[in-house]
Symmetry: C2
Subunit: 229 residues, 2 copies
DNA sequence: CCAAAAGTGTTCTCCATACACCCATGC
DNA sequence: GCATGGGTGTATGGAGAACACTTTTGG
């Protein structure tokens, strides 16, 4: 059953850039393509948008089908429309991105993907289509956004130490931070809850665990407060 | 000659939110639709993307066809894909925005528009489709961006006084600024060129004219400098 | 002379930075 | 005891906020 139109129409797809944090590295979730074009090549999870689903639904569906990751809080990144970005013909892709806790997701390749895996952003394999460009833009967006919105917490376990948090900011901002100043600044916001629990690291004293007060932040943000680091 | 596909495809359009500044008001460029749906209603300039043109080319073409405005430096805003946003059927629209000098553009309605005109953002008429939502998002984006990029200058004449510039920031940030502090801060960046020319306003002393040093800014920005107001 | 607008100077506070220091733990 | 890492305290400079003040022009 064919669908016919007066004018030719571009195909519409979505692609997802999902970031996770693993000790030292910021990682991206990729799938190995099972079908042409670019069969065998690593690529972002994504695919065609159905006629009766929203863009965001399509992104979440494809992500779930290809990697098993469900309920990922995706945000729209940018729409890529270069003429030659897909060898099958004119294809416009709406890209989404998300930050997740690596530990929350156990991957399982499915549908049109052979495999799904995390790659450090500094050691990406060759990628299909213009997906390298998409990841670069997503990185830029995340690095800009982390300074003005508390999105870093989405990458950490729910309970974390201040030093883990500092490490995260050092990775995302790509510079080292003063320990004392970091603690003062982040605690002064009064957005962290001290849990009176401790993490037994290897050597040295046990580190206090904290939790991000998401609800309090939401209330403050609505009242005009701007998180800034 | 019909074009047929195995699966139904959404239609793809672009919409343009063009801002201009007029003394006191931030204004948006709208067209009055000539054809159905929403004939007679005001709407954003925009239309269908041809199969062999990029999204940005489509946006510039539609803007030029419907309003006469050419060479507008458009930036992508967001892609709207709600299922019911167009009564003709599933339509996904990539929205663009731009800031221009009102004086640079003399409007002329054309093609499928009856009329084109500037409206103050605080006094918008009823709008077609989800265009109100698009303008609201564009406003939010501009208001956020003006603090970290020198985009305000695109709304002013090439030569301007510091007080005009201050007025612009007061409009965009929606708060009043201290004269002395504003001058100190903006001059301390050393991004304005003093022209030794003066503008004869009504009453009071003549005001010094300045020009934004775009090239210098570009060089600094590449070296990591961040404009911040 | 007066109102309005251009432009300068001063004070105070707060915060980012840099850096020194102390304490707890494992080996 | 000592290296490692957790956590606190302090001096300094610079930027932002608030506000006073001078000067120039048209009416």
């Amino acid at each position: 059953m064919a669908h016919c139109y007066k004018y030719p129409r571009a195909a519409l797809t979505v692609d997802c850039v999902v970031f996770g944090l693993d000790e030292q590295d910021l990682k991206v979730l990729l799938i190995q393509r099972d079908s042409e074009p670019f069969a065998g090549t690593w690529a972002l999870p994504g695919g065609f948008v159905d006629i009766d689903e929203t863009l965001e639904d399509a992104a979440n569906r494809e992500l779930s089908e290809e990697t098993g990751a469900k309920q990922v809080p995706l945000e729209q990144l940018y729409t890529f429309g270069d003429l030659d970005r897909d060898p099958r013909g004119r294809t416009v892709s709406v890209a989404y991105y998300a930050l997740v806790r690596l530990s929350d997701y156990s991957l399982q390749a499915a549908s049109d993907a052979r495999d799904a895996a995390w790659f450090a952003v500094s050691e990406l394999p060759g990628l299909a289509f213009d997906h390298k460009k998409i990841i670069d833009l997503a990185l830029e967006r995340v690095r800009g956004k982390v300074r003005f919105e508390p999105i870093g917490f989405e990458l950490l376990p729910r309970k974390f130490t201040l030093n883990e948090l500092q490490g995260l900011y050092e990775i995302l901002l790509a510079r080292s931070l003063d320990k004392g100043d970091f603690r003062k600044k982040i605690l002064a916001m009064d957005l962290l809850e001290e849990l009176d629990e401790f993490e037994q690291g290897g050597t040295g004293p046990a580190a206090e665990l904290y939790r991000f007060r998401k609800e309090k932040y939401r209330r403050l943000a609505e009242a005009g407060f701007v998180f800034e680091f």
